[in-house]
């Protein structure tokens, strides 16, 4: 059975791929995919005019073949580094052989497996035309990952970019209902239309589930041991009032982790901008949400 990235040993020689005869169609398709329309890669006359017996195989096409072979040899992996040198030309119609072996295996800080491979290609006359080195690691999404993938959390909430815009009409009954729920006293007289200071909670697209970018963090493969709102802040230019039509734009502004007494804490901070029907700024809010993960359990399971 073929070993995969979790089981492969140093020195393991992958089964050769080939010999395969490179087709002219491969070169034309690659030209379209890469934007390299240099004619001697697909035009026999151009190739001969340059002194080659046949069209010359694109170097990066050979790199792409090797990269896809690493993926098929080792299973689902990330390839954060791939470096290839083109030593000699290959020609359309010639039979190439692609091969590779495991040069080194290391463990990352938290036990992720890092596999370094040497790769090569040879042409039918035995000349080595390509050498490459690559670093393959177990996939971040796999169970072996023991770090919070902060960058992917940032991407999942579109950090820094507007994540959503929603329009809410503040109905008088909504404000009264809110005042009743918090046990407050309904205002009377000229200020009867003023909403409570915390009414902005009712206009938060995330609390309302109108904006839900939680899928990624909810499915992280670590035991969640708690979570909830960490803090809320509001700054008003004027109070919210019954009858306001408020446009809320949400933006995640911070994603960070902290070590807490109970586990690793993942903070996501979002800001809302509340504008009225005239486009005037009414309020800005900041809400911090925290999730606690037990990374020790996660590490114990995989070690």
């Amino acid at each position: 059975m073929m070993p995969d990235i979790k089981t492969v040993d140093v020195g393991f020689r992958f089964p050769d791929h080939g010999p395969i005869a490179v087709q002219l169609e491969d070169m034309v398709r690659w030209a379209a995919a890469s934007g390299d329309y240099t004619a001697f890669h697909f035009d026999q006359d151009e190739a001969e005019a340059r002194g080659f017996p046949a069209p010359v195989v694109h170097g990066p096409w050979k790199a792409a073949v090797l990269r896809s072979l690493v993926e098929s040899w080792l299973g689902a992996v990330n390839i954060p580094e791939f470096s290839v040198r083109y030593l000699a030309p290959d020609f359309v119609g010639d039979a190439m052989v692609f091969g590779g072996e495991v040069a080194a295996i290391e463990a990352s800080r938290h036990g992720r497996r890092i596999v370094r491979c040497d790769l090569w290609a040879t042409r039918s006359d035995g000349v080595k035309t390509v050498t490459a080195t690559c670093v393959a690691t177990t996939d971040d999404g796999a169970e072996a990952a023991t770090d919070l993938p902060l960058q992917r959390v940032m991407d999942s909430v579109r950090l820094g970019e507007p994540a959503g815009t929603f329009v809410y009409r503040i109905d008088g009954n909504d404000v009264d209902r809110f005042v009743d729920a918090i046990g407050g006293q309904r205002r009377t007289g000229p200020e009867a239309d003023i909403a409570p200071a915390t009414f902005y909670a009712a206009l938060d697209p995330v609390e309302r589930r109108d904006l839900d970018l939680d899928g990624f963090v909810q499915n992280l493969p670590f035991p969640k041991i708690g979570g909830g709102n960490a803090f809320n802040e509001v700054e008003y230019q004027r109070p919210l009032r019954k009858g306001d039509v408020i446009t809320v734009t949400t933006r995640y502004t911070e994603v960070y982790e902290k070590e807490g007494s109970t586990g690793t804490l993942l903070f996501r901070v979002r800001e809302n901008e509340l504008r009225d029907a005239d486009g005037e700024l009414v309020a800005t809010t900041r809400c911090g949400h925290v999730l606690a993960f037990d990374m020790a359990i996660a590490r114990g399971v995989t070690s």
Binding site: G183, A197, R209, N229, Y236
Partner: protein
């Protein structure tokens, strides 16, 4: 609009009269509806048990609301909070007494603004929510 506070008589450190809140599950459901916050931890006892809580827990925003209302009730008609920031330090379960307290930390007579710190305490005296607020008072009663 008139206000109950005489700013010239007010001193930093002045403590607001505390209020005690006893929540009920019905109130939490009511709040969930009013705020469109339907997280089950606030009304689903089975889920709260799964999460390791002895009972459903009070919305952080509801405790924040108690504190904001304490401030505005104290300041009287016409007052509103320009800034209000809350930090959730610990949970409170439904029905447990929540003591809401506040203290004046700054006074700006010309702007008619008062800064406050506010907090909730549980029965053991631990602060479960802390807040700061900047109150804008109503116009002075010149009569």
């Amino acid at each position: 609009m008139t206000t109950a506070i005489d700013l010239r008589m007010l001193e930093e450190g002045h403590e607001l009269t505390p209020a005690v809140q006893f929540t009920t599950t019905a109130q939490l459901v009511r709040y969930a509806g009013a705020a469109n916050d339907y997280s089950g931890i606030h009304y689903d006892l089975g889920y709260a048990h799964e999460r390791g809580f002895p009972d459903v827990i009070v919305h952080g925003f509801l405790k924040a609301s108690f504190l904001a209302e304490l401030a505005c009730d104290w300041a009287g008609p016409g007052s509103w909070l320009r800034r209000f920031a809350t930090r959730y330090q610990g949970i409170d379960v439904v029905g447990a007494p929540i003591v809401c307290r506040g203290r004046v930390t700054g006074i700006r007579i010309d702007e008619r603004q008062v800064s406050l710190e506010l907090w909730t305490e549980n029965a053991q005296g631990a602060r479960t929510t802390t807040a700061t607020g900047q109150l804008q008072l109503g116009e002075e009663d010149l009569t």
